[in-house]
Amino acid sequence: MITPRWLPWVWLLPAGFLAAFLVYPLVNLTTTIAGGSGAAALGRLMSTGLWQVTALAALQATISTVLALVVGLPIANVVTRYRFRGRAVAQALVTVPFVLPTVVVALAFRTLLGSALPLGFALVVIAHAYVNLAVVVRIVGAQWSQLDPDLENVARTLGATRWRAFADITLPSLRPAVASSAAVVFVFSFTSLGIVLILGDALTRTLESQILRQTAVLLDFPGAAASALVQLLLVTGVLLLGAAAGRRNPARRMRPPARRPVSRDPWARLGVYGTVTIAYAIVLAPVLALVAASLRSSSGWTLAWWSSIGSVDAGTTRLGSPVAALGTSLGFALVTATVAGIVGGLAAVAVLAPGRVRLVSVLAMVPLGVSAATMGLGLLLAFGRPPTDLRGTNLLVPIAHALVAVPLVVAVVMPALRSADGRLALLASTLGARPTRAFLTAYGPVLRVVVVASAALAGAVSLGEFGAASFLTRAGAPTVPVQIVRLLGRPGEQSVGVAAALSVILVALTLALVLLVDRMGQSRARVPA
């Protein structure tokens, strides 16, 4: 292996970033709970209010998970195992809810179902299932497409009915994938904030919304820190369980997915095409409802909401104009993309270094398990007051967003680097290239594309992120998601209309970025290996 002299040191920057903005705030958070005596800390951790919210949130997350599985499994079956025209489009479409900002999803469901269902438990559960559909379809579908369809046929020739063969043979083989996707969906639903704030009622809360309330309304920082700690421990536990279940994978040979044609049996056709149609309807209905809401008032169709977006009147003076929020969000997205691209890219490159240095890439995944509110609160407590007050610098939000995005960047860049052929570096150095040049010959082309693509992804994350931003945004300069939630907190149909218009812009920006990333991924795939 050709090792440039700087390679063993690339871990320094990501490690420093994580130590300063993740580890230090978390440690600081833990000491805040103690806030005085050990007995007080214990009291905070054992308070019945805290555990009531925890139990309710766990119930909500469980039902959300079950619903996501019930809807997601048939879609995964059809989309990953059958061959039909429009299959790839359907598969891409199912991913859309997952990349939509949660605040936007919440508003979409409020406009779609708000008149049929009261705000509360049911709406929250439906929105969570919607967002997480892609998790189930992607994770379970990947495993499902690997299963040999003849395995079920063998069971059929041994006397098993179609359902029996599915239950006996297919389901056990899918169990690891179902378990890991369920763990992820549970965690997302359990730590949800934007959806709970917009669609929930007084009873439908998560620890996440509790933390925000304790911080922003009650000013009970030790209590909020206690909530954050309980949540952190529970989430870590569930994710570890999911990972353990996911490892128990009996048939792990990777092969190209064997997609079969849809049989000519009319019932089978109805099953496949019916499922695809329902999937389309489920994914598109909320988005279309959102677009309609941005164009409608109680007196009919209107462009008033769109035309008032640039004027300060649209909000009260306290809110600031929606267009200003858009500028703030785009700026934050740009900084986030840069910081996350550099930090995540270097953390990923560290895997190529010899020795234990590569551990930094594992550390860089930790923010995945830390909720947005925990991160926001931690940063606020650590850097929101003297002597280290960064609130005036406008840096806290992008820093939080970069923390959220770094694991994504690492997850995208690392496998790409691993798949690059390191022998090219050796070859280059036999041709007279110095170590750095040789390294760049082997890994440069991959790095360039992948880091930019994942930075764009980080930008998309930043545009839609609400949790951390709601803690860290300054009153006068909210991000778009924060602005949307503030607008919805005000009465009047203008607020909803303008919020819907802002949401449509956010959807368009997010989808454009994700599409760009997708394109870049495809162009990389075309480069001969």
Binding site: D148, D150, L151, N153, V154, A155, R156, T157, L158, G159, A160, T161, R162, R164, A165, D168, I169, P172, S173, P250, A251, P261, S263, R264, D265
Partner: protein, 213 residues
């Protein structure tokens, strides 16, 4: 005497396209017939159509004189062995073999006892607790044979069952399988591209192209 298996004017097709018509094939009780043809010539589709995995484009399939053309796979009384053993990965060897017996309504313990007996027929006594990945290729294929024989199918269909194995093992296993089938008086339709294997296993060899009309 009723043939075990009879196809009358059977047409084969895939994704709506017919590529073979008018196949008439008869298997007498305890007869082993080999169908010889190059790869890609439709041998697997023939077996999959008889088993009901793929619908027949035209014609009829009779098992023990009973028309099963529209009968679902699990009620045809046809066993199937593929090129790969396709053992159920989450079940051990014994429960793989017991699977078909359980579907016939046999209790768990009785099915497992019978499975152990079947395993000794294929020289795998004592292998019941093993998992798929603890078996060699030849052993796994013999488990697949025991599993297919367990529910006493009227006809056993073998789709190139040895082609994934080494030459040496292939010849030995082919002879073993033919012995086992004869001992149990099972009628079998064996498709292969290997004339030597066809001759070693079968009572009668037919060329696939001679079946097409």
């Amino acid at each position: 005497m009723t043939p075990r298996l009879e196809t009358i004017g059977l047409s084969l097709g895939y994704e709506g396209e017919v590529f073979a018509r008018g196949i008439d094939l008869t298997l007498d009780p305890a007869e082993i017939v080999a169908v010889l043809g190059p790869s890609g010539s439709g041998k697997s589709t023939l077996l999959n159509t008889i088993a009901g995995v793929v619908p027949a484009m035209d014609g009829r399939v009779l098992v023990d004189g009973r028309d099963v053309t529209r009968t679902p796979i699990h009620r045809r009384g046809v066993g199937l062995i593929f090129q790969q053993p396709l053992l159920f990965p989450h079940l051990n060897v014994r429960d793989n073999v017991a699977y078909g017996l359980r579907r016939q309504g046999l209790g768990r313990d009785a099915a497992r006892r019978q499975a152990d007996e079947l395993l000794s027929w294929v020289d795998l006594a004592g292998y019941g607790d093993r998992r798929f990945h603890e078996l060699s290729g030849g052993q796994a294929q013999r488990v697949a044979l025991a599993r297919a024989l367990a529910p006493r199918p009227s006809v056993l269909l073998l789709d190139e069952p040895f082609s994934a194995l080494d030459l040496d093992l292939r010849q030995r296993l082919a002879a073993d399988v033919a012995d086992t089938l004869r001992q149990h008086g099972v009628a079998a339709l064996h498709v292969t591209h290997d004339p030597g294997e066809a001759a070693a296993v079968a009572d009668r060899v037919v060329a696939l192209e001679d079946l097409f009309r």
